[in-house]
Amino acid sequence: MCLAIPARLVELLPGEQAIVNLGGIRKTVSVALIDAPQVDDYVIVHVGHAIGKIDPEEAARTLALFGELAQAQADADALSTAAKDTP
């Protein structure tokens, strides 16, 4: 039961609520379950509640990891091409 989506928090409201923006869609959700929500945080929304935040550094690190594979592949390809070219 995991449909949860990262959305940017754009406005804090009274009563532990906030407005989030996902691709232009704005929705009011509860932030009662997370610590110290702030505007511009990316929160993960599930059934109308923010249940956690996205850590931007970790996100970048994860993407870089995917990219490393791409880089490793490219390096490997380059090596094998170079090997072929070497007389």
Binding site: A4, P6, S30, L33, H49
Partner: protein, 381 residues
């Protein structure tokens, strides 16, 4: 959409697929279970199976709370509407699940039951506030991701002194289900489960953290990689599992580090512990009775416990004999191994738990995968 689109990049997917093809050792087979229904859906929807090497197989686990909800529990919800005249608030997912007597929640609604679909537990609370003369019951299903919002609703109802709101609590616990799959005596009946590792749930782990899986990996010597929800996350997690197997490791790794920490969401955990306690045992559809795998409302919040409030008794209802869901949930059989798959049992007329929700193994295969062996012919010969 940030933190979504980047994790769906098809080019990177192909690169990870290439890596997998290189690292998966041809002389052995790899069998991984993705526990979470959301992962099952992602694998089907993005056609990830097409990108995996032939010797890496994904087995769909019982991580779909609608699929594992026993018929008897839906009967209780229907009774609340039809016999007790309560307004029953439910998530959309449960509306079509067939229950006893040819009924489902949506059919009970057609018969006059006041059954309303809500997007959140807070919506049910609002309905209770707006209808003080009526009993309002929230049909609470879901794993650990969905439990904190329910806890919040009970807490808020308690604080507001609401006298007409209660919860039919069917929340279930993930680690217990995984343990059950590997340990249950019924495994002897179906045969040993050929699983090499687990793709751990994404959003459940945001709440409970990855600590609960650590001992599990040690005790059962199976690697667990917590994976994010997007297709690149899933592919990366499968690669990490293959590596662990190749290197003889059995650890918990966290691919979803941008959202999951070791401890998880402490606030949410504390709130859940305040409102709920563990049931000794709970029936899971397709798995039978599982110890310490579900929650009920604590006595301190008894007025908000619909089972107590309406004096409801749980009556188990057996599944169709031809249904192979039990074996499928354990990864021992595939949907196509079931005699009634696609004929009697379809998404329109689901017989067993694996077909009721779009994330059940059978429903996912039926909707997204049953074409697989048919070649595509575009031009006339």
């Amino acid at each position: 959409m940030k933190y979504i689109d980047e994790f769906r990049d098809g080019d990177i997917a192909r690169k990870i697929a290439d890596r997998l093809a290189q690292e998966a050792r041809p002389e052995r087979a790899y069998s991984f279970m993705e526990f979470c229904g959301g992962h099952t859906h992602a694998i089907s929807r993005y056609g990830i199976a097409d990108l995996l090497p032939a010797n890496v197989r994904m087995v769909h686990g019982p991580g779909c709370p609608v699929c594992v909800l026993p018929i008897g529990r839906i009967d209780m919800a229907i009774a609340l509407a039809l016999e007790h005249g309560a307004i029953v608030c439910t998530y959309g997912d449960t509306l079509r699940v067939p229950a006893s007597g040819g009924l489902s929640l949506i059919k009970a609604k057609a018969r006059g039951g006041d059954i309303r679909m809500v997007y959140s537990a807070a919506d049910a609370l609002e309905i209770a506030r707006q209808n003080p003369a009526r009993e309002v019951v929230f049909f609470a299903i879901g794993f650990e991701t969905t439990t904190p919002p329910t806890a919040l609703a009970v807490r808020d109802a308690h604080r507001a002194g609401l006298a007409n709101f209660s919860v039919l609590c069917c929340h279930v616990l993930t680690p217990a289900a995984i343990t059950h799959i590997l340990e249950s005596p019924e495994v002897r009946q179906y045969g040993t489960v050929p699983l090499d590792g687990f793709v751990g749930p994404a959003h459940v782990s945001i709440v409970i953290g990855f600590a609960p899986y650590v001992q599990f990996a040690i005790d059962y010597q199976k690697p667990v990689v917590i994976a994010g929800f997007e297709p690149l996350d899933v592919m990366q997690a499968i690669l990490m599992l293959v590596r662990q197997i190749n290197e003889g490791r059995a650890e918990v790794e966290n691919e979803f580090s941008r959202a999951v920490t070791r401890e998880g969401n402490r606030n949410a955990q504390a709130l859940v512990a305040e409102i709920f306690e563990r049931r000794e045992t709970f029936e899971w559809r397709g798995l039978g009775e599982v110890a310490s795998s579900a929650l009920k409302i604590r006595p301190a919040y008894a007025p908000f416990d619909a089972e107590r409030r309406f004096n409801l008794a749980y009556r188990p209802v057996a599944d169709n004999k031809a249904c192979e869901c039990g074996a499928i949930l354990r990864g021992v059989k595939k949907p196509t191994d079931c005699k009634i798959f696609g004929t009697v049992c379809t998404p329109e007329n689901p017989v067993g738990s694996c077909m009721v929700s779009s994330e059940g193994a059978c429903a996912a295969h039926y909707s997204y995968g049953r074409f697989r062996d048919i070649p595509v012919v575009v031009e006339a010969a």
